[in-house]
Assembly symmetry: C2
Homo-oligomer: 409 residues x 2
């Protein structure tokens, strides 16, 4: 029951010059399921990534970080399996991950350090290397530019819908494409972990600049969504820039840089929001915007306190404009010197709490009208400064409990 999750027409998904994608059914956990995806990048592509901060980092996350840190010959391939997260698997897990990279490197005539691995699925179970290795030739044989939809399917676990987004912009008189896929729906069905996002552009971006840009974009997209507050062991977000459009971003002052950056933000944010829209049991999509904060950190504290409160989330599920719960969450967010008399709160355009109390002109029926909508803006002004942050989340329904209380079989 996804909330306004639009699947674009296949014709609106533009291939990215320099990127081929292959998808296979490797039977990793279940038969007859696309569960193995390979990306191939043309030589000269720069790649950057942002990964989970969970201390239990999955083996593929560790290998990704190693390989990205190695300036060597440059990343040329991604390999993504579902059905097993290869997390909490210790040294054997690392070895299994390296074996997959080595096998793909052999098939593609690369160095294993040119491959980035990603896994998503059950935690604490050994990676079925043999099945993945057996599936790799099929994925490689499938490599082609117009395979983004298949990739979106190939990385799904408990997602109900594929998540893909694409746009074109003009830079230096040339057409530049940005296309990406993502997956994730909470920390997902028992032991199924992971948010993954892969975005590619045919603009060229210097490696260091791309690394900085990727962190920056993550902070406006994948680092601003929350379903249940549970950070997975495998979260990864990758941007690859092939340069095959002929457009080369020379640096942050290049006039095309802001255009590319805006396009990447739009795609990454759309892919991140799609994860929330498809979240387990979600019936409402909520944007929590905190304004007039002293700094970005305290804006985020308040936004996440509201976004994570089970009481707030169940109230939205019930379409109950329950102001007290939102104010209470603001109050316990951890701003020690918060002056509650300066706090204001709006639901969409309804001014519900004014100067820390109920707005005298607010009528409950107006609040309830807003709460009936599938998309709601919760706007909080703290009266402390000029910082602002936005977080995207969803409500908390019976189905969330049902999905997550299902046994893993």
């Amino acid at each position: 029951m996804a909330v306004n999750l639009h699947i674009p027409d296949e014709s609106a998904i533009f291939p990215v010059a320099g990127v081929d994608i292959g998808v296979a059914e490797a039977g990793i956990r279940k038969a007859d399921r696309r569960d193995l995806t390979v990306f191939r990048f043309e030589p000269g592509t720069t790649v950057a990534g942002v990964f989970t901060r969970n201390r239990f980092r999955a083996a593929p996350v560790q290998v990704c970080e190693e390989n990205l840190a190695d300036p060597g010959q440059g990343i040329r391939a991604l390999v993504i399996n579902t059905g097993n997260a290869n997390a909490g698997t210790g040294a054997p897990g690392l070895a299994a991950c390296r074996e997959v990279c080595a096998e793909l490197a052999k098939l593609m005539m690369l160095d294993p350090r040119q491959v980035l691995p990603f896994s998503t699925g059950v935690i604490l179970e050994p990676l079925p290397v043999d099945r993945i290795v057996a599936g790799l030739p099929h994925a490689v044989a499938d490599l082609r530019p117009d395979n983004w939809f298949n990739a979106a399917h190939g990385i799904m676990t408990t997602d109900t819908l594929p998540k893909v987004s694409s746009l074109r912009v003009n830079i230096d008189g040339k057409v530049v494409t940005v296309t990406g896929v993502s997956k994730g729906a909470g920390m997902i069905r028992p032991n199924m972990a992971t948010m993954l996002g892969f975005v590619a552009t045919d603009a060229g971006v210097p490696r260091e600049l791309l690394a900085q840009l990727t962190r920056d974009i993550a902070d406006q997209s994948f680092n601003r969504i929350t379903v249940d507050g549970d950070t997975s062991t495998n979260d990864s977000f990758i941007i690859a820039a092939t340069g095959q459009s002929g457009v080369q971003i020379s640096g942050p002052t290049h006039q095309g840089f802001l255009v590319l950056r805006a396009a990447l933000v739009e795609i990454a944010r759309d892919l991140a929001q799609k994860i929330v829209r498809d979240a387990e049991g979600a019936t409402k999509f909520m944007t929590i915007r905190v304004e007039e904060a002293g700094d970005s950190e305290e804006a985020l504290k308040v936004a996440y306190a509201v976004a994570h409160s089970p009481l707030v989330k169940t109230a939205f599920y019930a379409s109950d404009p329950n102001l007290g719960r939102i104010l209470a969450a603001i109050g316990y967010a951890g701003i020690e010197d918060l002056d509650v008399d300066k706090v204001n709160l709006w639901l969409d355009d309804e001014w519900v709490a004014r100067d820390g109390g109920r707005n005298p002109t607010y009528r409950e029926e107006d609040g309830q009208k807003v709460m009936q909508k599938p998309e709601i803006l919760v706007r909080i002004a703290l009266g402390r400064g000029k910082a602002q942050e936005t977080v995207y989340t969803c409500d908390f329904s019976h189905d969330y409990v049902s999905i997550n209380a299902d046994y893993r079989s």
Copy 2:
């Protein structure tokens, strides 16, 4: 559907010499409901309290803190109403609260600053002072020592069962009684907030020592429970020491001090645990014990990360020994330099995760056997030091969502 919440036999609840309690039906929110409770203490009683850290503090919390800070003539009465939290009500809310104190003071021939007020119920609605004031004479007329059960009923909101606990110990050859009541069941049905705990003893304790003792005991009881992580605007915990037993604790080196302290810890912890046992939708009572932490703060970070994870809580609801979810919560608890290879995890006596991965000798069926129990110990060893903390929580069920998604009518 409370979890092992035992209601003691009335004969096992011992009155506390120097404490009289009166309960009335004031029709504050609903008719025919005990909703107004008054405690009267003999002169010479010392009183201390611990209150919510939520920045949106209810009016009665502010008045409590003022009156407790005033060394004046000493606290002689408590007045507790349900049905309205008097929170988010600004200056009129404070005035309303003071009016209730003044009215009770007049009836009891006290100074208004000798009264501590408590409110629990709907947030952001004006306190119906008239109904409370009209009810006060009835509550005062009801004052008697053997009224603790009535008090436990009188402070209930969405609690399904009254919470009362009592014991007697020997100090200096005399019998000392400790008896208390509590209420709370999550941050409770839409807009119904508040955990309240009131404990009295007929031992005498100097004011400063009692204040310190109350903070200390809160940290072993009411500050170690969590249902949904939502800190209410009204949480209050009070200890009153009447001295009427003839036992006077002279200081922390008095040999009876440790006996009294242990008795107070036992009663406060039992009352706090009763709140979790009666939590909204709870089907399991979980004790999260974190050992081998570097300090108390990081032990609590890990314990609360596990206790608040909706994924962990739904797994317990499903009786699914889902290790990955617990490890993931440990990993994102915020200990930056956590060495996951030193983390061990037990469910009761089953050693499930060893050195950061699955214990090779652990069998899933053994974990599942533990998960079927209504009371489960989750023991986590971090391998960092000697600090230890324990937090009590419950699972997360369909009923939690149902209860909290009910409209407020």
